[in-house]
């Protein structure tokens, strides 16, 4: 039983040790940002990777989490922890709402991708126009260091906070995938009609998946806010975040618990490398992301993790049987 959680423990322990080995602010910023993306991508992975429902609009959840948390803190002076909890809750609620409307209408495949994209865009335009979100000027969170305000003087402390959230997400996903609900979700991905014929309540399973998915991605939005202390509609509800979380999950290995985390590190590591080689040319790192996505779909449907597992088993098989007694 404990063994299934060992890989999670190992990788989380490894990342937790980073601040002891590296002190450069750039490096720590990099890790924190990657962790935030990884958390959002875990949300996408549960719905898209495990459940097979490709959303192109996870920005709707990311943005709702971030905005709710920001509005409660800036406009109503609420405590940051409570605001974050409310952000996650509302993110989950929005996800349930979008899921209820689109799954009940029977949308899947391209249609589902399109409708999620449209919902995110509607929210983006609204957030850009209504006064409570600060409109196009955005919302600035007051710099006020303190654990109660979820703001830390050291980047290492925030890294551990983000890592704690990622770890909780990983454990949750692992637990879900080993549960009955997880099995039903995979069944829905593999063949919806067959799953229904076997007595799986397809609508309920999808709704549960999108709600948890929304909560995870909303949590990432809240963390983003606490770290950067600024939001506007194009950040919170922008297409970029929908694509970031999709890419990380796909590249790491769709449907695998550790996929989003591995994917986020791979992508952003690669993006930074490309940027260093290509100098200041804008967009070159994103062009690399797109290329990687196509290559992954074409040659490594299991993503980086799938590829590694394949190499590993091949090496293990190549070793003589007596050598591993």
């Amino acid at each position: 039983m404990m063994r299934t959680y060992l890989p999670i423990l190992a990788i989380v322990g490894l990342i937790a040790a980073i601040p002891f080995a590296v002190t450069s602010n750039t490096a720590l910023n990099f890790v924190v940002f990657v962790l935030i993306i990884a958390l959002g991508a875990q949300g996408w992975n549960l719905l898209g990777g495990v459940g097979g429902q490709f959303s192109f609009g996870h920005a709707a959840f990311f943005g709702t989490g971030a905005y709710v948390s920001a509005i409660l803190q800036v406009r109503y002076g609420l405590n940051a922890w409570i605001a974050m909890a409310a952000g996650i809750l509302l993110g989950a609620a929005v996800a349930w709402g979008i899921g209820f409307l689109s799954f009940r209408a029977g949308l899947r495949g391209s249609y589902f991708a399109l409708v999620t994209l449209a919902f995110a865009e509607v929210l983006r335009i609204l957030a850009n126009a209504v006064p409570i979100t600060g409109g196009a000027a955005g919302l600035l969170l007051k710099l006020d260091i303190g654990v109660l305000n979820l703001q830390f003087a050291s980047r290492a402390a925030f890294l551990w906070l983000a890592l704690g959230c990622v770890a909780a997400g990983l454990v949750l996903c692992r637990w879900i995938m080993d549960s009955r609900f997880g099995a039903q979700l995979v069944a829905v991905r593999e063949n919806e009609d067959a799953a229904r014929a076997l007595g799986v309540d397809v609508l309920a399973v999808k709704l549960k998946a999108i709600t948890v998915s929304g909560a995870l991605t909303a949590a990432a939005g809240c963390l983003y806010l606490q770290y950067f202390l600024y939001l506007d509609a194009n950040i919170a509800y922008g297409v970029w975040i929908s694509i970031e979380v999709l890419l990380a999950a796909m590249v790491g290995g769709r449907g695998l618990v550790l996929g989003p985390l591995v994917g986020a590190f791979t992508l952003h590591g690669l993006g930074d490398l490309t940027k260093q080689f290509a100098g200041g040319i804008p967009g070159i790192d994103l062009a690399a992301y797109g290329t990687v996505l196509i290559l992954v779909v074409a040659f490594a449907p299991g993503g980086v993790l799938g590829l590694l597992t394949r190499l590993w088993t091949r090496r293990a098989a190549a070793q003589p049987a007596g050598g591993r007694a």
């Binding site: 209408a105 029977g106 391209s110 449209a118 335009i125 694509i243 967009g283 062009a287 797109g290 779909v297």
Partner: protein, 290 residues
């Protein structure tokens, strides 16, 4: 509150813009009708075509309307190649994969354009950009009128191609029954690529018509493609007359919501229609197939 001529003019302007929207949607709906996938790279191809027009005008001094035949051929070839050598092989025939590969392609194209042309917004200048035609009390931009006429002509040509030629017959056969088509000797991969090429060719025409009245930057395609998705869904996925009617309708809706609610909320009307149609009637208002 609003006088009749203003509303009429907004409606007419909406119709004219809508025709160009329809042209963008035409390529999308054609590809959907045959390949049964949504081409997320459609907007990126449009941006690329618009930059091609910009370069032709700026560096070669060619009139955008004169560039139409040449760019149509070039973009047909680009589309054919993209489907035949990238999208087809990379997706292994799985619908979800095609969605992801075209998304990847759009990210690559957009960001290469960004790397080459930077984020600056560019325009071209033509002698006729500000010329107008008077119809009674209404003033109609000449360039928009050309765009409208060309959109109608191109749709007619496409319709003719699909209904009157052997290639068109093959395309319709593949759209209806892929396996059957390949059994009677149609090269399905070739037809897929031809269809994709045609989709890109209509974008080249749309780009030539758009440039005299619009600007180009590496992100411009995104705005159009979301509108185009709406039109395609509204008109019924895969239906050419539906795309035309849907385009005109959306053009008017955008123009009127912009007039009544201001520009920042102008686009929201489109998305709400889009969501409602998807939720309530995914086969489209004009689509016959359920």
């Amino acid at each position: 509150m609003y006088s009749l001529p203003i509303v009429l003019e907004a409606t007419l302007n909406g119709l004219l813009t809508g025709a160009i929207y329809a042209l963008v949607a035409l390529g999308l709906t054609l590809v959907y009708g045959v390949l049964h996938i949504i081409n997320f790279a459609h907007g990126a191809f449009l941006t690329a075509a618009m930059f091609a027009v910009w370069m032709a005008v700026t560096f070669l001094g060619v009139d955008p309307y004169v560039a139409i035949p040449f760019l149509t051929i070039v973009f047909f070839a680009i589309g054919y190649g993209a489907q035949r050598f990238v999208i087809g092989p990379a997706s292994h025939g799985d619908d979800g994969n095609i969605l992801l590969v075209t998304l990847g392609l759009s990210i690559v194209i957009e960001n290469i354009l960004l790397a080459v042309f930077r984020a600056d917004t560019r325009t071209i200048t033509t002698d006729y950009a500000f010329e107008v035609v008077e119809i009674g009390p209404l003033l109609i931009s000449q360039a928009r009128l050309y765009g409208f006429l060309a959109a109608v002509v191109v749709s007619g040509l496409l319709w003719g191609l699909l209904t009157r030629t052997d290639t068109g017959k093959a395309i319709r056969a593949v759209a209806k029954e892929k396996l059957g088509a390949s059994l009677v000797g149609i090269d399905v991969r070739h037809i897929y690529a031809v269809t994709f090429g045609l989709g890109c060719a209509t974008l080249a025409v749309a780009a030539c018509l758009l440039m005299p009245i619009f600007y180009v930057n590496p992100r411009v395609g995104q705005a159009f493609v979301l509108v185009a998705f709406t039109i395609v869904v509204l008109g019924g996925m895969g239906s050419i007359p539906g795309a035309l009617a849907g385009g005109l309708f959306i053009g008017v809706v955008e123009s009127l919501t912009g007039l009544f609610f201001g520009d920042s909320l102008g686009q929201i009307g489109i998305f709400i229609i889009f969501i409602l149609v998807l939720l309530l009637r995914p086969s489209g208002l004009f689509g016959a197939r359920a």
